[in-house]
């Protein structure tokens, strides 16, 4: 084997090992989270509601404009690209089908997840990392608190409730983007496009996107927090943990998307 090939192979092995370790870390993190969530459900008074609301605000309402804009543009782009192809076969109206299905089943959830990764995932990692640097996590532990309950549970609850709602908004914005192309560029009457969308869209397509987005939210929240706890105790370490939170989240989200899509399709949805 040549030196270069060997090195490439070593790189690949390294990356695989790292990914394996990330997966096992994430699993044990999720295990600890499940334990904490179980306690939280048994004793809801103990949940830090104020923090939870803060994160709902941060991950949800604050992200609304950007989610609206990106999903709308996504629908618009998708509409244009479809229209060009469909025009060849004189099937303009199928633009409505394609936009509706792609957005609700796939792109809405995925786009919202990407935005949430950049906004919330990195913020979680940086926040927890900074708390490590300033010894706040140590202080929490020596005050007899479980840092998980204070730092992770509110973030996860917020993410898992708010991201699916954002996804619904994103879906609507995306379909509206397709609608604009359909009516203005293709000249399909508004009511025709609208009816077609309603006709083809099944509840299950929506549900599929929502379920996906909840899973993505869980992944993004967990990876962000986990990277924060793994951060080394210096400023550069915090920066690295924020970066790696984003990279790992995107990777895991795409893998989860593949698995879920496979599952849903094999179930016949």
């Amino acid at each position: 084997m040549t030196g270069r090939r060997k090195r490439a192979l070593i790189h690949l092995a390294d990356a695989t090992l790292k990914f394996g370790k990330d997966c096992t870390d994430l699993l044990s993190f999720t295990g600890e989270l499940a334990d904490c969530l179980y306690h939280a459900v048994k004793n809801p008074k103990k949940i830090r509601w104020r923090e939870t609301l803060y994160y709902m605000d941060m991950c949800g309402s604050d992200a609304l404009p950007i989610v609206g804009a990106i999903c709308f543009l996504m629908g618009l782009i998708l509409g244009f690209q479809t229209a060009v192809q469909m025009a060849k076969y004189g099937g303009d109206i199928y633009t409505a089908d394609l936009v509706a299905y792609s957005i609700t089943k796939e792109l809405g959830a995925l786009m919202v997840a990407m935005i949430a990764t950049g906004r919330a995932g990195s913020a979680f990692a940086a926040e927890i990392g900074t708390m490590k640097v300033s010894e706040e996590i140590d202080a929490m532990a020596t005050m007899g608190f479980v840092p998980f309950r204070f730092l992770v549970v509110p973030k996860i609850i917020a993410m898992v409730t708010v991201i699916p709602i954002l996804t619904v908004f994103g879906d609507i914005a995306g379909i509206f983007g397709g609608f604009i192309v359909g009516t203005l560029k293709l000249g399909i009457p508004a009511i025709t496009y609208f009816n077609r969308t309603i006709e083809v869209l099944t509840a299950m397509a929506f549900v599929q996107g929502i379920v996906k987005s909840a899973v993505f939210a869980l992944i993004i929240g967990c990876v962000g927090c986990m990277r924060g706890f793994q951060s080394s105790c210096d400023a550069q370490g915090v920066g690295r943990s924020a970066t790696s939170a984003v990279v790992t989240s995107i990777f895991m989200v795409v893998i989860a998307d593949a698995v879920l899509t496979f599952l849903f399709t094999s179930l016949g949805y």
Binding site: E51, Y54, M131, S134, E135, E136, D138, A139, M140, A141, T142, M143, G144, F145, V146
Partner: protein
């Protein structure tokens, strides 16, 4: 003699595989102000964090009120941790809560006091460290010295009989740092609490210490133990004398 509050036996500590300190043994008696002294980076904070149970030592035993924090499981550890207070180098106040909330949080979590009672205790603790005017400030809005004082107030929230301080006066101007020393001395007199103080500054130890141990980064162990005056008059190795006299304190406090 009463049982020691903290007992450290043949401790060997460090991170991953690197040993930072070894052969550490000492005990802290009730009501004592005990100072852990040493140059920057010699492992004082590391030692403190092991004593309070944040990390597990490679070897050795740590007893707090006669109970091993090394062998304790998570729940036992949490219970033991509630019995003492810790103030960290930078105060370690929770940034998302006000100064007052930082203290009330501890009380809400660990006591059954009513809201009014908690309110009263918070005021009382804050006035103890002369911070009552800053109750509604965020930690980012107050100075470093104030943060440390608020950290002390928070550590005292549950009236612990044992307090740990990590560099209480580091990074403060001489006047503020002297005030902080006086505050600690005051608190120890008022509450009779045992205090373990980690510092690399000499001002603080000579004014407040009952007993001192000194750590050394070259030999990775403790090189001296005793009353500050004794160490100064009879240093076990030359390096101790060098360290103790370097700051000019000798002149100020003992030769005037």
């Amino acid at each position: 003699m009463e049982n020691p509050v903290v007992e450290v036996k043949n401790l060997e500590i460090g991170y991953d595989k690197t040993v930072v300190l070894k052969d550490i043994s000492f005990s802290v008696e009730p009501g004592e102000i005990f100072v852990i002294l040493g140059g920057s980076g010699c492992g004082k904070s590391t030692l403190l964090k092991h004593i309070i149970g944040l990390y597990n030592p490679f070897k050795g035993e740590i007893l707090i009120y006669g109970e091993s924090i090394v062998k304790a499981d998570e729940n036992e550890k949490r219970r033991m941790m509630k019995s003492f207070g810790v103030t960290y180098q930078g105060g370690a106040l929770f940034g998302s809560l006000t100064v007052g909330e930082n203290i009330s949080l501890v009380l809400e979590e660990h006591t059954n006091h009513s809201k009014d009672e908690i309110d009263k205790i918070v005021d009382e603790k804050l006035s103890l460290v002369d911070m009552d005017k800053f109750r509604n400030y965020m930690p980012s809005e107050i100075s470093g010295g104030m943060r440390k004082r608020a950290g002390i107030a928070r550590a005292m929230a549950l009236d612990p009989k044992l307090l740990f301080f990590d560099e209480p006066s580091a990074g403060l101007d001489p006047i503020t740092s002297a005030e902080l020393d006086r505050l600690i001395l005051d608190l120890s007199k008022k509450s009779g609490a045992t205090m373990v103080i980690v510092t690399h500054e000499l001002d603080s130890i000579f004014t407040v210490a009952d007993r001192v141990i000194m750590l050394d980064s070259n030999s990775k162990t403790m090189v001296a133990e005793g009353k500050p005056q004794t160490l100064l008059e009879n240093p076990p190795i030359p390096r101790v004398k060098e360290f103790l006299t370097r700051s000019g304190l000798k002149r100020k406090h003992y030769c005037d």
